[in-house]
């Protein structure tokens, strides 16, 4: 953009190159008036990086006339540029008037340049009010999760004690989708983790001549901690997100409301079968993960540390007790409850269209993992305190 300051000889002040206007100009006339002549491109897009108003020099005082060339074809965005320019110049204490070249320009300025209506603002809480609202939302979320958990667990008991062919069919379908589908992934990750654990410990154990202890390390780590945690986090990402997205889509399509008005309980139909399937699949997958992790450790023990296979198995059986495995399984059952409750809570509270589904699905995974860790830490702490007494 070129800024020209003239002396009134060229009141239009446009910079012409090869017969074409190339920039916005501002000239000072002998009558003490400033004339701003915007070029078509600046009016259509606004000058890059600055406003049209910056073309008016700082020393300008009094009246600025924005003069529109007859060749300029105004559009809504041009009028918006003019409005911003007028606002900025007025703030600088200048008076502004607009000179339109033809009736079409005047018509568009009247159409788009009218005084804007007052914008309706939604009341946004601030400060303490916002804090209290946050506390209120957390309280409501806790109540909703507790209600969902108690409801689905209660219905799971009823459905198990009084089986219906349709519920059992649904349960099998869910176990297959949730459990069988996750088998290859969990098998691969658990066995690799077993190997990594053994590899990390190998140099230290060899240094102390305790190679056989690799079986204790891998066996106890996998059964008590890594197996349940790893399986739960994988299923939170795989099945929890799928449940949240499915429920969210159904909610936005009014399918949940349709079920409710039919008298069909959406929780019993959509969430409880997932809770039962997860309570069944997660401990089983954890058990599988434990075994494969131990096998991974076995491979490293035998190849890297020259531990005999039978010795490794014997050591594992001696050091890993049934209670350790049971602790892991109890944890995984608790994690199953966390995953399904969080996914159902987020899915059923979905709003905000397609972006809302994405947001609530992500939240379902993040909150699930967070609560899995919290539950794990609490359980381990309680278990340790009890064992120490």
């Amino acid at each position: 953009m070129k800024v020209g300051k003239g002396s009134g000889k060229n009141p239009r002040g446009a910079v012409i190159v090869c017969g074409m206007e190339v920039g916005t100009t501002c000239t000072h006339t002998a009558e003490g008036q400033w004339t701003l002549v915007p070029c078509a491109q600046d009016l259509a897009e606004g000058p890059s990086g600055s406003s049209l108003a910056s073309a008016v020099p700082e020393e300008a005082r009094g009246l600025v006339e924005v003069s529109l060339g007859a060749e300029i074809k105004l559009a809504a965005i041009s009028v918006a540029v003019l409005r911003l320019t007028v606002d900025r110049l007025t703030k600088r204490g200048l008076k502004v008037r607009i000179r339109a070249a033809n009736a079409e320009q005047r018509r568009l300025i009247k159409l788009f340049g009218a005084e804007p209506e007052a914008t309706l603002e939604s009341p946004r809480p601030r400060g303490l009010e916002r804090l209290l609202q946050g506390v209120h939302e957390i309280k409501n979320a806790a109540i909703e999760c507790a209600w969902l958990l108690s409801r689905t667990l209660g219905q799971s008991v009823v459905h198990t004690l009084r089986p219906r062919a349709r519920d059992d069919q649904r349960l099998l379908g869910e176990v297959a989708a949730m459990g069988m589908g996750a088998v290859p992934l969990i098998a691969l990750i658990a066995s690799m983790l077993g190997m990594i654990l053994a590899l990390q410990a190998a140099p230290i154990l060899r240094m102390w001549g305790q190679e056989l202890r690799v079986a204790d390390l891998v066996g106890l780590s996998m059964t008590k901690e890594i197996g349940p945690l790893l399986t739960a986090i994988l299923l939170a990402g795989r099945s929890g997100s799928a449940l949240a997205a499915e429920l969210g889509t159904m909610k936005l399509n009014d399918e949940i409301d349709a079920m409710t008005v039919m008298g069909v309980d959406p929780i019993a139909t959509l969430v409880t079968p997932r809770m039962r399937a997860m309570l069944l699949a997660l401990p089983l997958l954890t058990l599988m993960g434990d075994v494969l992790g131990i096998c991974g450790g076995l491979v490293i023990a035998s190849v890297v540390l020259d531990v005999a296979v039978i010795q490794y198995i014997h050591q594992t059986l001696q050091e890993v007790h049934l209670a350790d495995i049971m602790h892991g399984l109890v944890k995984s059952a608790l994690f199953a409850m966390v995953i399904v409750t969080t996914a159902a809570w987020q899915g059923l509270s979905t709003k905000g269209g397609a972006a809302g589904i994405g947001r609530h699905t992500t939240r379902s995974v993040v909150y699930s993992i967070l609560w899995i860790i919290v539950v794990d830490a609490t359980y381990t702490w309680i278990e340790t305190v009890i064992n120490l007494r």
Binding site: L82, V86, R97, I98, I109, D254, M262
Partner: protein, 266 residues
Amino acid sequence: MSASDNTAAIRTEGLVCGYGEDVILRDVNVSIPKSRITCVLGGSGCGKSTLLRTLLGLEAPLAGSIEFSGKKLAQSTETELAALRRRVGVLFQGAALFNSLTLWENVAFPLLELTGTDEDLARETARMKLSLVGLGAFLEHLPSEVSGGMRKRCGIARALVRDPEVLFLDEPGAGLDPVTSAALDHMILDIKERLGTTVVVVTHELLSIRALADHAIMLGGGGVLAQGALSVVEASNAAGVHAFFSRQAHAEPERGGGLAELLCNE
């Protein structure tokens, strides 16, 4: 029809509808006659769907009461409420079909879930209801494989599957071409004639209103503007009723000021 008429299928008294602190409708005293078609009318955003959701129990009333066949909903237990819901059928605005189920499975869904009906029997019942709405040949199609009008008809078949006493239809003609919309209106009239069902249609389409309404409830200005026979409602002097039926737009006052005032060569 007066609010004390005992032939009313649904009656409300001093009903206030809304979401949380946002009140959409105040002091709604309406009566929906049995075995008739009642159209709930009004412009976009006047609270028609909110009233419908409140009548269905999907939103709790902020105040007032709803009576269903003489029984107050607020005094009903959860079991009674579930039993009442089984006596109504609903077509949602977007049909709300379950996308992963075929048309017959959608229609049979309430039977299979609630009554433990044998699958063959449920399928046969679904086929009958789908034939009633002209979809007998599309049993195995998924909702995504049929047109918008067909999805709406399937939604009506699902709403009818347990022979409801009251059928609620939320904007049945929305998004449909005039011919399909007229066919749907014809089907709704047919259902009322043949099954004697009370039908509540939420709509703002004048052609449908004139074709269907025995009774009308006109909403606007945050409440009920008029109610009664369609001719009575149409003749009402209430502000907004005449404009609605004569399709008159509110003339927006021209806003002045702004850049127009700065034009120096007016």
